[in-house]
């Protein structure tokens, strides 16, 4: 969050005479092949990945609530059709779907547009597994005693859904949100390494990890592994958080 303050020169400034430099007092993690300060790029890239992955997760959770929650609440043909579509999306290999949709959009775009496209795409395509869980939860709520009682009291339709079903879906929505964040961080990293993620010169964990492609040995330039270490630490923290939540729920 403090990237602007810690690296005021920014992520795109080039030190042409110091390209591919090893870590020094001036450049803590050295410079890349274009002479850009790697430490600054890691800071800004971390900020982009850590801000936009939760934003994409929020979008996907909202879409899942809309598709899964509403169809589960309505039940019958609505739920069957929604789940058939969801199953179809779920059976598609995730990375195949992502690169296909990404390729449909222009690749030669401004860095800011590429950031938006990448994370919007993750949010708009990643709702399916959460929708399945929410459909099942909303379906079980629909037949619960308190909903029947509310129906008998004359509360129906959207009001019943917003006032009685939705508040009870909140724990499931929170869980699905936290599950989606590490998935989107990893997906962005995969897309970035494959050259289909955030466009240069904007850094993200995915685009920073592309530097590993030219390595000959792990010990050669260990500082290039810093983005990977950060990514693994963040994703494993999410995984540990989720498993401890699961243990507490059990």
């Amino acid at each position: 969050m403090a990237a602007n303050w810690l690296a005021p020169a920014g992520y795109a400034r080039q030190y042409r005479e110091e390209a591919n430099a090893a870590p020094s007092h001036a450049h803590w993690l050295g410079t890349d092949e274009d002479g850009r300060d790697r430490f600054a790029r890691v800071l800004y890239g971390t900020r982009i990945s850590l801000l936009l992955a939760p934003a994409a997760a929020l979008l996907s959770t909202l879409m899942a609530a809309l598709v899964g929650g509403v169809s589960g609440y309505l039940g019958g043909a609505w739920a069957r059709v929604a789940m058939a579509v969801t199953d179809l999306f779920l059976s598609l290999p995730w990375l195949f779907l992502l690169i296909t949709v990404r390729a449909l959009m222009p690749l030669n775009v401004s860095p800011l547009f590429s950031v938006m496209v990448t994370f919007l795409m993750l949010g708009l395509l990643g709702w399916t597994s959460a929708a399945r869980v929410l459909c099942a939860s909303a379906g079980s709520l629909r037949d619960s005693d308190f909903i029947r009682q509310a129906r008998a009291s004359g509360i129906r339709g959207a009001r019943l859904f917003w006032m009685h079903v939705m508040p009870n879906l909140k724990p499931v929505l929170y869980a699905q949100f936290w599950i989606s964040v590490p998935v989107f961080i990893l997906s962005e990293a995969n897309l970035g390494i494959l050259g289909l993620g955030v466009a240069e010169p904007m850094p993200s964990w995915g685009s920073l990890l592309r530097e590993l492609e030219g390595l000959i040995s792990v010990g050669e330039e260990p500082w290039k592994f810093v983005p990977l270490i950060l990514l693994v630490l963040v994703v494993s923290s999410f995984e540990m958080l989720l498993s401890s939540e699961k243990r507490m729920a059990a």
Partner: protein
């Protein structure tokens, strides 16, 4: 029972055909609406005269109507003609024929290894019932879950690890996690607790009581694991320089070769749906035979 199974197979068959047809329509719409469809690089060739450019434009205009474009593509596909790749200039069907064997081998061996690793770890953890060993296996599999598939592929290039092993390392943590949960739930079932209380050997409990309970659910995961392995094939083939279907899809995406990419995606979708349907039918048949 047989009638139910036949109905299930028929439903899956219908779903598969509907998916391919609808997916094809969606693909045609997306290809048609994608930015740059109307522009043909050849139209900028200074060697062409006005008549030739007009002829090229006329050919493009014929593809303007999405439905006629789709019907035309479908008719050609039924005759085995999947069109021509814009970037590679070769028939898509020939490209797929060249590259499919490598991908099938890679995914096949990868799946075999991942299932062997996942089951070996999950069964040994369930067998030993030692919390330290359980935590160790969970940490090992959890560690691989935290790495992007593309990074594992890049590291495999550094250490000369075969692509099939990388696919196995990407897929096995997911299978392990599911298998471990299933086994943990199975071991607290009343009849298995009774069998343990009666002093039956671990091997007998595992083979006679635990495996029949978890097998149908594991079979259902087998279908999903095919999807995971196919997805993992893209970074592995692209970054390890293996000329398979995954690399073809990646190259098509980078070159915005939409006809090629759409055909590959539809075929991959059909293949994964077939695997999922097969696993679902087998799983139900197995459940039916136990009840």
């Amino acid at each position: 029972m047989k009638r139910k199974l036949a109905r299930r197979i028929a439903m899956h068959g219908l779903a598969l055909v509907a998916t391919v047809l609808l997916g094809g329509l969606l693909a045609a719409v997306l290809v048609r609406l994608a930015p740059g469809f109307d522009v043909d690089e050849q139209q900028l060739d200074s060697h062409l005269n006005a008549e030739s450019i007009a002829a090229l434009r006329a050919v493009r205009m014929q593809q303007n109507d999405v439905f006629s474009f789709y019907i035309h593509s479908l008719q050609r596909a039924l005759h085995g003609d999947l069109g021509t790749s814009l970037s590679l200039g070769q028939p898509v069907s020939a490209l797929l024929r060249q590259r499919a064997p490598l991908t099938l081998r890679l995914i096949g061996v990868g799946l075999l290894l991942s299932w062997s690793m996942a089951l070996a770890l999950a069964l040994s953890a369930a067998w030993m019932r030692a919390s330290a060993y359980d935590a160790l296996t969970a940490t090992i599999s959890g560690m691989f879950l935290c790495f992007p598939a593309a990074v594992l592929a890049l590291l495999s290039v550094l250490w000369n690890i075969p692509g099939s092993i990388v696919i196995a390392l990407i897929v096995f943590p997911q299978i392990y996690r599911y298998a471990r949960n299933l086994l943990a739930k199975a071991y607290v079932l009343p009849h298995i607790v009774t069998a343990r209380a009666k002093g039956l050997s671990q091997l007998r409990i595992m083979t006679w009581h635990v495996v029949p309970v978890v097998a149908p659910a594991l079979l259902a995961v087998a279908g999903v694991s095919v999807s995971m392995a196919v997805g993992a094939a893209i970074p592995v083939e692209a970054l390890c320089g293996l000329a398979g279907v995954g690399q073809l899809a990646w190259q098509a995406a980078l070159a915005r070769d939409l006809p090629l990419l759409m055909n590959v995606t539809i075929l991959v979708t059909a293949a994964t749906l077939l695997a999922n349907s097969g696993a679902d039918v087998l799983s139900h048949a197995l459940r039916g035979s136990h009840t």
